[in-house]
Amino acid sequence: MYIDKDMKMADAIHYNYLLLPVINRLGVQLGFGDKNIEKVCQEEEVDLDFFLVIINAFLDHDLNKTLKIQSVSIEKIVDYLKATHQFYLEQMIPEVENRINALIQNFDINQNQFLLVKNFFEEYKKELYLHTQLEEKTVYPYVVDVYQAYQSHQLSQELLDRIKDYPINSYAQEHSDIESKLFDLKNILIKYLPQPKHSYQRNQVLTALFKMENDINDHSRIENMVLVPMISEMEKQLLTKSAQK
């Protein structure tokens, strides 16, 4: 389903509650009454087109359909992606951690099994952190540089070399491992840890993991289907221009 500007903001949330953190990150908080999306965005000074691109990207996996992706500013996408990183590190990771800790407090699993799960998640946490650092310190600044060069028609030699040596596509693979590990952890909890007396605590961990996975998949989708193609196209045009000189 495509969400458009005339839909009530509240209906969008009813349609899929997983949009909650997404609209927060975009600068919209609860309490919007019966206003439609256009009105809420206007009042909160949120870019309407950008808002629609992001929430539709979150809901619908096929981005190519109707969205005005081209009109969206790169800086806004980068800001949004940074906000998702912050959300993972400050909210989702601690939430999962707390729920994993609750497993041992409630004697749901024995000490060794607990350590296995905990260490696995620790490792994951480190990887996720390194990944966000790589993106924020290397990839995003590069993206902004390319965008600005594209806008101003001024391409430095340094950036030109960078485009040739490490184009945006060379980072596209980065996400796969982050997603694989989460996938594995889910299967370990669902299939391979011995049966618990009560499933409740374990369900809690799993629900948190599913939510996190869903959000991370969305993050990759926006990178791989919006950001990377846009930057890739700009790189191509910049290279062609510099060759003509």
């Binding site: 060794n112 099994q113 296995l116 799960v117 696995f120 490792e123 491992d177 694989s180 590990k181 996938f183 594995d184 952890l185 299967n187 370990i188 299939k191 391979y192 840890l193 011995p194």
Partner: protein, 188 residues
Amino acid sequence: MIVIAIKDFIIRKGLESILRKNNMQHKIICIKSSLELKQLLLDERPRLVYVDNNRLEEFSLLQKEKAIILVEIFKEKTSVHSANTMNHILCIDGEEVEINRQIKQHLDLYENSAERKKSDSELSDRETDILREVALGKTNKEIADYLFISAHTVITHRKNITRKLGIKTVSGLTVYAILNKIIQMEEM
């Protein structure tokens, strides 16, 4: 995996959604051309394929693959079908009950095919050997040398292990191996 190779968009989508309602557990892929099929056969091992009856030639590749159950799509009932081939056709002019009955038959064939049973069961002994070495942190090359097999064989085994267990990363496999006592924590 189930493949739908039908030309008409509506029929393709319709069949896909009916199949999804009937069984949730299998991957379903729609393809349009024999080119896509070629690629698919390289990467995956489809077991049940739906194809338009007038395009069999285009998809002749399929008939060579013995393990594949091929179902032909007919727009309307014809009298030429013998009892033998009834399981391998789908006439799309029926009502819901009739269509579901036919699809049920195809899915039964699929579930019962020997190939599928074999490939979806537990890890083989050899795979368990490989998993053990992977969990201990050895590289493909080291495992190959240790077990006197080629690195290529190791990779094939690893793919099958991942498919069977639903675990992709080395650390995930290690956790699995410990939980199932394939390795001991002290060996790490």
